[in-house]
Amino acid sequence: MSNLLVLNYVLLPHAPGVRVSGPFFMPHRTDRELVDLARAGDAEAFGAIVRRHQKRIFRLTSHLLRSAAEAEDITQETFVRAYGALARFDGRSEPFTWIYRIAVNLSLNAIRARKNTRNSAPPDDPHVESLLFEARGAGATPADATLDRELALALVDGLAELSESLRTTLVMVGIDGLSHAEAGKILGCPEGTIAWRVHEARRKLRAYLEGRGHAEEKP
């Protein structure tokens, strides 16, 4: 059951009073089919969507917010808001893109709502080290793993120095692995702009990392 999300007794706005229980596992369904089912009143379908994307949404919000607790809250809020807006999903984009966009919006709202500047750490998680459980490179020596960890932490700090658009775009593309096209659809800008943001963010981060003593590898 550890890998199965149990969404018991979900109340659907389309069918008030409908109660659905049990583990939801619909690997044969596409996201779009699940959304259609959910809109038709199938609560299991939405549970399957949540289970399918919760970890990736959590990972995104963690890197954007630099706070595991906040990321968990925002991840939950993302699915709640998506559920509340199911009727407004027009099908022009993929459901994941749509949910991802809600997550980014909520994360940015949370960041903006912080009283401190963007460079300050979130209040409940003073250092991002607590966010990283244990960085380890595949097949690397302990020394390499330590270097990788320090590099990753420096990168997180460097990300905080970037502007909102550069940081968000790089997290989506560089860390979360979205393509430029996917990121463009989510953020609402052309692929060329995404490419520029990524390039600019990496250029600034390189300077930042080199300023922190991390040297560029020689070819």
């Binding site: 808001r81 407004r88 966009r101 960085a135 960890r149 560089g174 692995g177 800008c189 520029w196 590898e217």
Partner: protein, 409 residues
């Protein structure tokens, strides 16, 4: 897609961060919480469904043109003021740049646009000048809500490409020349900056800025642009070259520099949006349209020509005397007129909020979506009410959207 120029160091750091496991929550407990939250329900603001970070003035051009420093909002006014003194970008410059990259039919359209912008700028730019300082307006460059308009423009381009262009090119160039000349005439009268006469008449180094101004104003010296007004054979080369304004001060560089420094207003409606609102320049106007960046960016000559995808909202004439979409000047003026009230709604809030206005074809605002810290608060309703009073001229497209950053007073 990874740019080869991207740093391996950063890529390695990204890989390290990507592979670092996170402290994941207890997903069973998470499911319970989601379950309870779903049962509780709750409204979802439309703003959450909008693209969070659309292209804005902060974004540079595509990386193929080389890395550029992003134009931070806080530096926009300074950059604009500096560019307004070091060069006077005119409609002729814009027309010349456009001719270099567009077909004949679009050139004709652009000429009409230029005239419309010039005329609307005269009428509308004045109310914009005293608009609140920390407001940034970004016109969506490529609005996904108008696929039909884009298809129409694409079809127009295809037709223009298939036509025999010879006669039309001459007509287009003549029209652009007329528009450019008209624009130069108007802008030179507005700015009251006569560069060459000041440089020639003033003492080499002792002329003060005030003297230069009075000289320029006292002598109704020639218009700076000897643009033909009726010759059909006007070519882009016949238009006044941009470089002349920088290259001329060989005779009296100090005097010319003074004259340029005291330039009270930029010479184009686009640059006028960046002009300082107060004489000392400390409280600079920051109502900015996307298309201004092309004129004010890190050197128009050094910057690659923007592609069609990066164009601002278009003003393609549909032949019925009504433009497809509102001009940038009209949109700027319309929002600028109500932005003060909107900003007052956010008084006391630490962070700016974003609003997306949708204008109907009758020129009235049909909807306003507020996102950011103010979303869902009473201030959002106040902002909606304030921005909802904006009006533009009726246009042909079904709707037209406009992104606005509303900063608290």
């Amino acid at each position: 897609m990874t740019d080869e120029r991207d740093s391996k160091l950063v890529l390695k750091a990204e890989a390290a961060l990507r592979s670092a496991p996170l402290r994941e929550p207890d997903w069973d407990a998470f499911a319970t919480r989601v379950d309870a939250a779903l049962a509780a329900g709750g409204a979802t603001d439309d703003a959450l469904l909008l693209p969070p970070l659309p292209e804005s003035i902060e974004d540079g051009s595509e990386p193929s043109g080389g890395p550029h420093e992003p134009l931070a909002p806080s530096t926009i006014a300074t950059e604009a003021a500096a560019s307004s003194t070091r060069e006077t970008t005119s409609l002729a410059d814009l027309a010349r740049a456009t001719l270099a990259r567009r077909g004949a039919k679009e050139a004709v359209d652009l000429a009409k646009e230029s005239l419309a912008i010039a005329s609307q700028g005269r009428g509308n730019m004045e109310p914009v000048a005293p608009a609140p300082a920390a407001a940034t307006i970004v016109v969506d460059r490529e609005d996904s809500t108008f696929p039909s308009a884009r298809r129409q423009r694409a079809a127009d381009r295809e037709r223009a490409a298939m036509d025999t262009r010879g006669p039309w090119i001459g007509v287009a160039i003549a029209a652009v020349g007329l528009a450019a000349g008209f624009g130069l005439y108007l802008t030179s009268k507005r700015t009251r900056v006569v560069e060459v006469p000041v440089a020639q008449n003033a003492a080499p180094a002792a002329v003060t800025a005030a003297q230069a101004t009075s000289t320029a104003l006292a002598e109704p010296k020639p218009e700076p642009a000897p643009v033909a007004t009726e010759a059909p054979a006007v070519t882009p080369d016949a238009l006044p070259p941009v470089a002349e304004k920088k290259a001329e001060p060989t005779e009296a560089p100090g005097a010319l520099a003074s004259a340029e420094r005291i330039s009270p207003k930029p010479s184009s409606p686009a640059l006028a949006a960046h002009a300082p609102a107060t004489p000392n320049g400390a409280h600079a106007e920051k109502v900015v349209l996307d298309e201004d960046r092309a004129a004010n960016g890190a050197g128009a000559a050094a910057k690659p020509a923007p592609s069609d995808a990066l164009r601002p909202a278009e003003l393609t004439s549909n032949g019925s005397g009504i433009s497809d979409r509102p001009s940038t000047g009209a949109a700027q003026a319309a929002v600028g007129a109500v932005l003060g009230a909107a900003r007052a709604c956010l008084a006391g809030q630490p962070q700016p909020s974003n609003a997306t206005l949708v204008f109907g074809s009758n020129g009235e605002v049909t909807s306003v979506n507020v996102s950011g810290p103010a979303a869902g608060t009473p201030a959002a309703a106040c902002v909606k009410g304030a921005l909802g009073k904006a009006r533009v001229q009726p246009f042909a497209a079904q709707s037209f959207s406009l992104g606005v950053t509303v900063r608290p007073l």
